[in-house]
């Protein structure tokens, strides 16, 4: 009864969307919910970057994965802004709307292109192994902070985004490069 990797990803998508909705509709719950959103979104994104995107990229989704990786980088930046915003301030609503719109559109894209292509091209055995790898990566990254990353993680993000020739860059340099890339 191994879980299906695509179902696992979809479950996270729905839960994250539900959190956006609650954050929007129940301002009083914001202090409670922002840490959940932050932990879940980061763990989910990083597990995808580590385990799903490299495989999806190889399965032919080069352009989609480049775009998806950039969207993850932008989402983390917005998450930092959301954590810093005062929950009662209108700035919070602005950032929340921007983040929610961006992430929701990103999910739709993934669900329409990346995930079906994976299902089509990967064998059952690969999909099962991927489900395990995704869950264990997600647990490993649970509780990490936005922008707080190891060099090896940044290098994986760079590969996912289609960059080459970054292996000499130090952690800060690579982080800067990725941030610029996300903004472009």
């Amino acid at each position: 009864m191994a879980a299906d990797v695509i179902d696992l990803i979809l479950q996270d998508h729905r839960e994250i969307e539900r959190l956006f909705d609650q954050l929007d509709r129940h301002p009083a719950r914001r202090p409670l919910l922002v840490p959940i959103l932050s932990a879940l979104l980061i763990a989910h994104d990083r597990a995808e970057e580590e385990e799903i995107y490299p495989v999806a990229r190889e399965a032919g989704g080069t352009d989609e994965i480049t775009r998806s990786q950039k969207e993850h980088l932008r989402a983390e930046d917005l998450l930092v802004k959301l954590e810093l915003a005062d929950a009662e301030d209108s700035a919070f609503d602005t950032v929340l709307t921007e983040l929610a719109d961006m992430v929701t559109a990103h999910f739709r894209e993934e669900e329409r292109q990346v995930l079906p292509a994976m299902r089509e091209r990967l064998g059952e055995g690969q999909m099962e192994a991927l489900a395990k790898a995704f869950l264990s990566s997600r647990d490993k990254h649970f509780g990490e902070r936005p922008r707080d990353r190891r060099l090896s993680d940044l290098q994986q993000q760079a590969r996912n985004a289609g960059l080459v020739g970054f292996s000499d860059l130090a952690k800060n340099e690579l982080a800067d490069l990725l941030r610029k890339l996300a903004g472009s």
């Binding site: 539900r18 409670l32 919910l33 932990a39 647990d139």
Partner: protein, 258 residues
């Protein structure tokens, strides 16, 4: 096996006590057990353990007290603290399991409620060691980045709130599998549960946890995840997942995936 041989084995089970203490432990446990059992069951036991008659003799019906009360009574009879009494009672039950017929043991176990799990497990020789309370709290402190006292308050707040949310039978299972230091919190939660707490959603759960442990709402999620992750480590086999299965899917962010 007669009573004298029985005490000899209890003596081996308990390190650093003399024969007199082992004798007192066996007497106190048997007297309390006699109060808990039906007259017929107590008489059956005496037949299996000649010489234990004075201690297992009872003329009253079974008193329906719980595990904590059992340990308390043993402690009073022995004149020791409850932690020591529990250790002694467990040694007596472990010995009991090896001394009487399996069928007789089955009858005895059938008369004891769910929360006597630790003693029953000893008697059946399948005891998985309970995670000591200090170890539990220490792991939570490390995970949540708290000092020991704050982590202790968080554990109690979360267990109490969990006990308000779960079916009473699940709370009894938890009680049997967690160190005694956590039992008051579980009992409080179980006593206070009502229709509303049984339906509590994840966010209400976290809100209560924040209030009870005296932390800001922002901290509740990290605390809850630290405690429930540790709970998963503390419970043997499928027990954690039995509890998880009772909670709606939105709670699943509070513990690592299976």
């Amino acid at each position: 096996m007669d009573y004298e041989q029985f005490v000899g084995i209890v003596l081996q089970e308990l390190s650093q006590v003399n024969r007199e203490s082992a004798d007192r432990a066996a007497q106190a446990t048997f007297q309390t057990l006699a109060e808990r059992l039906s007259r017929g069951q107590a008489r059956d036991l005496v037949e299996q353990l000649p010489g234990s008659g004075p201690w297992l003799f009872t003329e009253s019906d079974a008193e329906p007290f719980d595990y904590d009360e059992f340990v308390l009574r043993v402690a009073k009879r022995e004149g020791v603290d409850e932690t020591t009494a529990e250790r002694h009672a467990r040694a007596v039950f472990a010995t009991l399991g090896r001394s009487i017929d399996p069928g007789e043991l089955g009858d005895l176990i059938a008369e004891l409620p769910e929360d006597f799990g630790p003693l029953v497990a000893e008697a059946q020789g399948r005891f998985d060691e309970l995670m000591p309370a200090d170890e539990f709290v220490r792991r939570v402190a490390e995970r949540a980045g708290l000092d020991f006292d704050a982590a202790g308050r968080a554990v109690e707040a979360i267990l109490q709130t969990l006990a308000e949310r779960l079916a009473p039978g699940e709370v009894d299972d938890l009680n049997a599998r967690l160190a005694r230091a956590f039992h008051p919190a579980l009992k409080q939660g179980k006593d206070r549960q009502n229709v509303a707490t049984r339906r509590m959603d994840r966010d209400e759960f976290l809100q209560r946890v924040a209030e009870r442990s005296g932390v800001p709402a922002e901290a509740a999620f990290v605390l809850a995840r630290a405690v429930l992750t540790t709970l998963r480590e503390a419970l043997p086999g499928e027990e954690f997942w039995d509890i998880a299965a009772e909670l709606p899917a939105e709670y699943a962010v509070l513990w690592p995936a299976r």
